[in-house]
């Protein structure tokens, strides 16, 4: 990191926070603090929604994913526009007209207090598990690549986020996310432009596409239906739609964004804009990763991108012959690409993949683990070692912005659900608004502190971090199911909805544990199981009355 990069990084982060605090003003009521007084325009909510969704690790690892596995990950977002249409048509008007602070508050109006409480607790559990990971994951990666102490990165990022989230509430979160998303887009375009400009002269843009395609990196659509394949057109359209419906329709960290809209129209426009812009944005991030792959066709990449794993590999006796073989095959692959011999290139690529896979296994064994996954380190390695001064600062600012936007939204929504659905509903029902405003601020500090402590602890948990992250998303389908019951099945009551959630979770965990079904389908299964169970219990509950 050169001084210019530090200057760009520091100015970007300071600018983001100051702009957010300036635009948010001061909150004097709970409604202002938690819903920005319902004054937000669509464009602020739209970019805020996109920023919440784009975490640092998504930004870093999506490019790495394209480098390793190609662009097929983009299909995960194909169901998103359909979900935006359904939420805009059926969910947004209901939430707006009911005047709720949280999605789960709506469940009590429709069903009963126990259904609301269970949904709120499921949200606190899943989001609470994820918030520490959101904070620790980028810190760990930045530490490994840049050598910054992870505790300090975590503390600095956490303290900054807690400060502006506590001070300005949802308005500060939304306006900072608005700028954070612009910084992310600037960083993304700067990275894409730079990698294309850095390609050697013999690699014209069409040649670069052909080389990336020959290695299978431009597989944006896979039409073949395979239930065990994570990303294809069908899992993306159907499973991705259920995932997006659950995330945007039932997860408070997203629902709270569009509840701040000054009208139904403004909230709808923010969601529909997300449906319009999200897929092209993900395509560009993945395309950047594919171009990083092409760059490393002409410039030799390290055999392993993870610096610690590389050091572990170097200490092994098998490293020397493996390294010599890697050098030889790299030269062979580059020569094939230069003379545009795509068949020869493909063969060399397969050999390089085998050598890299072998190296990752040896590095993992040397560190006492399984096979190392270095996908998250590819893009940062490229940024730090290849990108010109100044642009590095901008791209790191984009990564920090992505991390901060997700964390602030999570802390803010956790505080809101804790205050509205637990504290105000069950612990202190009649108190002045000032008391709830103060409670909201304290709960924000609490969840911020919790995130920091969990993040510091999570750094030592290794693979458990990934497990916790995946566990968190096991709850989405069931939450969606109970909202489908609320909106579409007027004869289903509170007890049926409560048991529907339990049955939905039981179904998801059973399928997850006993089958190798691709992850995206679990959202659909949880939703359908909850709806079926809710309808079943409602029918059984009515039979005695009908008989009587």
């Amino acid at each position: 990191m050169r001084p210019l990069d530090w200057a760009v990084l520091g100015a970007s982060l300071a600018g983001i926070v100051l702009y957010g605090l300036w635009r948010s003003g001061s909150s004097r009521t709970t409604s202002q603090y938690l819903l920005a007084g319902k004054t937000m325009p669509w464009y602020a909510m739209a970019l805020s929604i996109m920023a919440t969704q784009a975490s640092a690790i998504t930004f870093i690892s999506t490019t790495g994913q394209a480098y390793a596995d190609g662009m097929r990950f983009v299909q995960m977002y194909l169901g998103l526009p359909l979900a935006m249409i359904l939420i805009s048509a059926f969910i947004v008007p209901r939430f707006h007209s009911s005047g709720v602070f949280t999605a789960y508050e709506y469940l009590e109006r429709r069903f009963d207090a126990k259904t609301r409480a269970l949904a709120g607790v499921i949200f606190l559990l899943s989001r609470g598990l994820a918030v520490g990971v959101s904070l620790s994951a980028p810190a760990v990666v930045l530490t490994v690549i840049l050598g910054w102490p992870s505790q300090w990165t975590t503390l600095a990022m956490g303290a900054l986020v807690v400060a502006y989230t506590t001070s300005g509430g949802i308005a500060a979160v939304t306006w900072t996310e608005f700028v954070q998303m612009l910084v992310m887009l600037a960083g993304l375009f700067a990275a894409l432009l730079t990698v294309i400009l850095l390609l050697p002269q013999e690699a014209s843009f069409t040649n670069a596409l052909a080389v990336a395609g020959a290695a299978g990196k431009l597989n944006a659509v896979v039409w073949r239906l395979d239930l065990h394949d994570q990303y294809n057109l069908w899992s993306g359209l159907i499973g991705g739609m259920f995932l997006a419906l659950s995330y945007f329709g039932c997860d408070q960290s997203q629902v709270q964004r569009y509840l701040t809209g000054r009208s139904v129209t403004q909230s709808r426009l923010s969601l529909l804009f997300n449906g319009l812009a999200k897929i092209p944005m993900q395509f560009l991030i993945l395309f950047t990763g594919a171009m990083v792959f092409v760059f490393y066709v002409y410039t030799q990449p390290p055999i392993v991108f993870h610096p610690e794993a590389m050091r572990a590999l170097e200490s092994q006796p098998s490293y020397e012959p493996l390294s010599r073989e890697y050098d030889r095959v790299f030269q062979q692959r580059r020569a094939a690409a230069q003379r545009f011999d795509l068949e020869g290139f493909r063969q060399a690529q397969e050999q390089m993949d085998e050598i890299r896979s072998h190296a990752l296994t040896i590095a993992g064994q040397a560190a006492g683990q399984g096979r190392v996954n270095d996908t998250n380190y590819v893009f940062l390695w490229f940024v730090v070692h290849q990108i010109p001064t100044g642009v590095v600062g901008l791209i790191l600012a984009a990564i920090f912005a992505a991390a901060m936007s997700t964390i602030s939204a999570e802390i803010n929504s956790l505080a809101t659900v804790s205050m509205v659905d637990i504290y105000r509903r069950f612990l202190r029902r009649e108190a002045p608004d000032g008391h709830y405003l103060a409670a909201s601020r304290w709960l924000t500090v609490f969840w911020g502190g919790y995130a920091i402590v969990t993040a510091l602890y999570a750094q030592n948990l290794g693979s458990l971090v990934e497990a916790v992250n995946r566990l968190g998303s096991l709850f989405y389908g069931t939450l969606l199911g109970v909202f489908v019951l609320a909106f579409a099945f007027p004869r289903v009551g509170g007890t049926a909805a409560f048991f529907a959630m339990i049955a939905g979770e039981a179904a998801v965990f059973t399928v997850w544990h006993f089958t190798g079904l691709a992850f995206l389908w679990l959202n659909a299964i949880g939703c359908l199981a909850a709806v079926a169970a809710g309808c079943g219990v409602a029918v059984l509950g009515r039979r005695p009355q009908a008989a009587g």
């Binding site: 526009p81 431009l218 944006a220 659509v221």
Partner: protein, 41 residues
């Protein structure tokens, strides 16, 4: 659709806005299919 509902700022009705977004998704899938078939060999 509720007759008292606010109209969108373009395309006249929300139904048409939703149809436009669905059509956009179909076009994106077609574009991605062309992209994959043209370059990913």
């Amino acid at each position: 659709m509720n007759p008292t509902e606010e109209r969108p700022p373009f395309r006249g009705s929300w139904g048409r806005v939703y149809a436009a977004l669905a059509l956009y998704l179909v076009l994106l899938i077609a574009l991605f299919t062309w992209f994959t078939r043209s370059w990913n060999r």
